[in-house]
């Protein structure tokens, strides 16, 4: 019974004794997620825009990204490892391929759902296709893109925990070290921060997603205008 209490105190003392290494794993973990996700955004957003241009292109691109995401993460990383060898590179490419689908799909859906009347009025007013995209369509799709980033980030944080299997680093190292040495303290020391990271990312990105919903934007702090003020 009091073994449990001991475990918790052990956990705290373990974490404080190894805080340097754990912190390093933590940062590496985040770094890999950010880089993989960043790549996916840089490539995925233009792909999403491309999808919105033609239905046929959309079908092809979304088919491919969909398949990429369906491949089990371990299988994906192992296949990549055969090609790219052990190391961070394999992990980041894996994350990139994994995150592509939510990013491309949500960019595409976000652009598609923009009310056609905004585009008609933008076009009719004299915006070039590019101006229409970056002044009107893209800002109004941002909340969807953000939702894609949120989904991808949460998945990526989970996937990175198996990175050590293909020569990567991060909190997974600690988990596997714990598994190998049958040390549950180390397992917890790796798994709890990873889980917290996923939860925090979900909350923060979710808040951002809400904030980026510009379709019903309001002036901050302004007293609401009585809607029928002009009527007799």
């Amino acid at each position: 019974m009091d073994e449990k209490k001991l475990t918790f105190m052990d956990f705290v003392s373990y974490v404080s004794r190894n805080s340097g290494l754990l912190w390093e794993y933590f940062i590496q973990h985040i770094l890999m997620v950010v880089i993989g996700l960043g790549l996916a955004i840089v490539i995925g957003v233009p792909l999403g825009i491309l999808c919105s241009r033609s239905r046929w292109v959309a079908k092809v691109i979304l088919f491919i990204t969909n398949i990429l995401q369906v491949i089990p993460s371990l299988a994906m990383l192992v296949i990549l490892m055969l090609w790219l060898g052990l190391g961070m590179k394999t992990v980041m490419v894996g994350l990139f391929l994994y995150s592509l689908n939510p990013i491309v799909r949500n960019t595409y859906v976000g652009l598609k759902q923009v009310d056609p009347s905004y585009m008609e009025s933008g076009r009719g007013i004299g915006m070039s296709p590019f101006q229409l995209l970056y002044k009107v369509r893209f800002p109004l799709a941002l909340t969807y893109l953000m939702s894609g980033i949120r989904i991808a980030a949460v998945i990526a944080i989970g996937v990175v925990t198996i990175a050590p299997l293909v020569g990567g680093s991060g909190l997974g190292r600690e988990i596997y070290a714990g598994l190998n040495s049958n040390n549950s303290l180390r397992i917890f020391a790796g798994a709890i921060p990873a889980a917290l990271l996923a939860i925090v990312a979900d909350i923060v990105l979710g808040a951002l997603q809400k904030k980026l919903d510009l379709s019903k934007r309001k002036s901050s702090g302004a007293a609401p205008v009585p809607p029928k003020i002009q009527k007799v």
Partner: protein, 389 residues
Amino acid sequence: MIVLDHVNKVYDDGFHALKDINLEFKKGEITVLIGPSGCGKSTTMKLINALNTPSSGKVLIDGKDISGLNPVELRRNIGYVIQSVGLFPHMNIAKNVAVVPHLKKWDKEKTDRKVNELLDLVGLDHTIYRNRYPSELSGGQQQRVGVIRALAADQDIILMDEPFSALDPISREQLQDELIRLQQELNKTIIFVTHDMDEAIKIADTIVLMKDGQIVQTGKPEAILRHPANGFVRNFIGQKRLQSENELSYEIPLVDDVMITNPVTAFPNRGLAEAIKMMESKRVDSLFIVDRNKQLQGAVSIYRVLDMYGEEGKTVADVMIPVRFSVASGSTLPQAIELMDSHQLSNVPVVDGNNRFLGLVTRGSVVKHLAEVYPNLAPPQPAGEGEPV
């Protein structure tokens, strides 16, 4: 001036939306395109800002074929207002109004001045509304902003596609009034699409009535109301409006509305005794003499008949005096009253183009008519019976 010259539009799916359209939109006028849904109004309008290109034929603005112009540049010089407003929800009101000045790279100061001036022009205090977002405005306010956005870069031509039809009736009326007021100040060339005839009549300088991709009739609202080209136009104007037009014309009533339609008449071959008998039984003091074709021959008064009564064998034709004054059917009541006034007449006959006797305007009939039109002014008790001639 904008000219559509033999324009046809066939959409990609093969639908022939416009069939040989020839139109002129005059500078400084509001031209209203009207017709049932799907008749090609929007298609026609979008030819002008190159959102649509003609399959054949030409669109000329001030004599220049617009197919040679850069469509994006062209659109920046043409205001565009659509039914769903299309204000950008992520931009505040000032930014929305300033969209085209921005595209045209106006400097900030000039843009700001223009935005403030326009907001105030439509009754939206710029100190309050500049920083509001579209979702914080009522539908009517949003469309006011939509309208001034089309004016912000000093566009000379404004296209408006059913701009007010999504608004509640009160806002709609207000915006129509405001548009008329703005137009008196600004003198733009406005092309306005609607399917609402009341709206068209209210704001149009010229109405273009369309059906199935063709123009059915073009003209001033007054001309179209008075002379609908065919049954379709008459139908489109609507029975209700034709009636309300009659009500409108009560404001200046026509003699036809006022006259007694069955005045007492006699044929020329009637004797004097008969004439007296008729006047007695109908309680009138004079008779109009008409022939079988209802041609007005003359009139006799009771005094004249009594004067000549001694001369047996005379007919009314012998004693009648010619009618010196009459008014044509379609004349207005004031014309008739002026005639009666200046010649001391107690009545004046109404005749048609062939001088046929149609009816009689009397002082009594005028009073009776006014009492019908303005029932509120009539005494609460029913007025006396009969024709008070």
